[in-house]
């Protein structure tokens, strides 16, 4: 597990073998940047190793999104999914999340790391982008772009607004909608039944590259020999062991294992927040349902944006000012 600088991803270089990288939970980054009125491409710190603490070198607005983690700013409890202001020298401490797996620290104006191949994301495998092409280490000092303070406003987290349940699953099971992929029909009937019916456990061999699941073995009716093809985050491959792998943000751009299904784009944030040891249910859906799910995410974001604008207007009308500046 490691923490790294990430943005919305490095697009347009797959044909050179460069995976998209970027945050695992796109929705959390979008919300975090929206809370701060940041450009959508602003980079953040993706935190997946806890506790994490950072000291602010200057007064600035920030937000923490992703899961739900206990946090303190200057020793006082603060909440995720809020835009907040830090004074110079304040220490933000983020504990291990009680819900979700990854937290995202966005800073007003974004992190000022060099843009490499059109992105500020860390390409961990290639060793470039982000902060010196590597995971963050204790003592790193990251430059910021345009410091500014922000109004203290919050958002309803997607986990609440876009909650998804499946019949026969407990509260903790993460439901992911998947669309059958290229080799779906080549698996045995029993395997296909098992695929959608059981709770797959996320193993410890899961990281930004991919999630390895356990709980059963999926078998093909006969083995197939595949030539290397393009891989995108969310694709579920079945290696010879029969235990599926879901490729994620840092996956290689090409692969050769049989493809049973793909987690829809609109549910990848759920998977990004699913913890090692927890269970996922893979629920089949079709293309139209996949598009509708993406529309739900867009509606959530539009509503969030609208509410934030209303808050900001009422703030300026009341002359409430910038809470951070009172400090």
């Amino acid at each position: 597990m490691l923490n790294s600088v990430q943005d919305a991803g490095r697009l347009g270089y797959r044909h050179l073998g460069v995976s998209t990288s970027g945050v695992m939970d796109r929705l959390a980054l979008q919300c975090g940047n929206m809370l701060l009125n940041n450009p959508a491409e602003a980079a953040c710190i993706e935190i997946q190793t806890f506790p994490f603490s950072v000291s602010f070198g200057s007064q600035t607005g920030f937000s923490v999104t992703g899961g739900h983690a206990p946090m303190t700013l200057d020793g006082k409890p603060v909440l995720p999914w809020f835009a907040l202001c830090a004074r110079q020298g304040d220490v933000l401490r983020i504990e291990r999340p009680v819900a979700g797996a990854r937290m995202y620290l966005c800073i007003a104006g974004g992190l000022d790391v060099p843009v490499v191949l059109a992105s500020r994301s860390t390409q961990l495998r290639g060793g470039f982008g982000g902060w010196q092409g590597r995971p963050l280490q204790q003592g790193d000092e990251l430059p910021l772009c345009n410091l500014s303070c922000v109004e203290e406003v919050g958002l309803v987290p997607p986990a609440q607004a876009l909650a998804l349940k499946a019949e026969g699953t407990d509260e903790k099971t993460v439901v992911l909608r998947v669309i059958p992929a290229t080799d779906y029909t080549l698996f045995t009937g029993d395997s296909l039944k098992q695929f959608g019916a059981i709770g797959w456990q996320i193993t410890a061999q899961s990281d930004r590259v991919g999630y390895r699941l356990k709980g059963g073995a999926l078998r093909m009716r006969e083995p197939v020999e595949l030539r290397s093809y393009g891989v995108v985050p969310g694709i579920i491959q079945v290696p010879p062991s029969g235990e599926p792998i879901i490729q994620m943000a840092d996956a290689n751009t090409a692969g050769g294992y049989p493809r049973i299904a793909t987690v829809i784009e609109a549910d990848l944030w759920r998977l990004a927040q699913a913890r090692i040891g927890s269970f996922v249910r893979l629920q089949l859906c079709d293309h139209a349902q996949g598009l509708a799910a993406a529309e739900d995410v867009q509606t959530y974001l539009k509503n969030a944006q609208k509410n934030l604008m209303l808050y900001r207007k009422s703030f300026s009308r009341r002359g409430a000012g910038h809470t951070g500046k009172q400090a």
């Binding site: 697009l11 347009g12 270089y13 797959r14 044909h15 050179l16 073998g17 460069v18 490499v116 191949l117 390409q123 495998r125 290639g126 470039f128 982008g129 669309i179 059958p180 992929a181 290229t182 080799d183 779906y184 029909t185 080549l186 030539r227 290397s228 093809y229 393009g230 995108v232 969310g234 694709i235 290689n252 751009t253 090409a254 692969g255 493809r259 793909t262 987690v263 829809i264 784009e265 293309h287 139209a288 996949g290 598009l291 993406a294």
Partner: protein, 232 residues
């Protein structure tokens, strides 16, 4: 909402010489050509790559080995219509001959950095010198670049040199290692775990994000290997 014609199976298998076209999620489509891995087939994939990248709804195209992935900027309402377009194009497209760059690559065969040379020889029933001679003989073509930054999928390995990947991968194979994995030749682009058999080493840097273009190889480039040294 647009009404699409229902499709029963997610994909057709590679039968009857028909391409197999399948959706990978809502925003990617994979086109797989029927038949053997030949340069002629790959050249048609390159032609299809041009056609696909002209589409207004396509953000990226990613060629693989006799296949092509389309990444949509806007997911199609009716994937079958896109698939039909691709099928029509495939039926009529001529091969695209790319005049790529030519590389003549000096290899230090064998030694510590090519220490699987002996096991390739053992597997193929050839002497190490014969392996090296057969490896140097053909002109290889870069069919696609992918997997990791700058890695070129090469066509051209003599089938007599085909050697299965190692059951236990090397944990830290250096970038620049000249390899054979199954029926394919390669040059590793990144230092890291690698299951291909190392037979030599070159100093060429496959990928440098500060270079323009960052990847040394592009599709259609051709390369030959020659021995700078041999250490058995």
């Amino acid at each position: 909402m647009v009404e699409c014609v229902e499709r029963t199976a997610p994909a057709t298998a590679l039968v009857n010489g028909e391409p197999a076209i399948s959706m990978i999620g809502t925003s990617a489509m994979l086109f797989e050509a029927p038949g053997e891995f030949t340069l002629a087939c790959q050249r048609r994939i390159w032609a299809l790559m041009d056609v696909a990248s002209m589409r207004a709804d396509v953000a990226e195209v990613m060629p693989g080995v006799t296949n092509l992935m389309l990444i949509f900027s806007t997911p199609p309402e009716c994937p079958d219509e896109v698939a039909a377009d691709l099928r029509r194009a495939w039926d009529h497209l001529p091969e695209k001959h790319i005049k790529g760059r030519q590389f003549d690559i000096g290899v230090r065969y064998g030694g510590e950095l090519g220490h699987d040379l002996a096991s390739v020889a053992l597997h193929t029933g050839l002497s190490p010198h014969e392996v090296i001679a057969l490896h140097q003989a053909p002109v290889y073509t870069v069919c696609a670049v992918g997997s990791v930054p700058g890695f070129g999928y090469l066509h051209g390995l003599d089938p007599r040199l085909a050697t299965p990947r190692k059951t236990t991968p090397s944990l830290k194979m250096l970038a620049g290692t000249v390899t054979i994995g199954g029926p394919q030749a390669g040059i590793s682009a990144l230092t890291g775990p690698n299951g291909w058999n190392s037979i030599g080493f070159t100093d060429l840097v496959m990928f440098d994000p500060t270079r323009q273009p960052p990847a040394l190889f592009a599709v259609g480039d051709t390369l030959r290997f020659h021995a700078e040294s041999i250490e058995l």
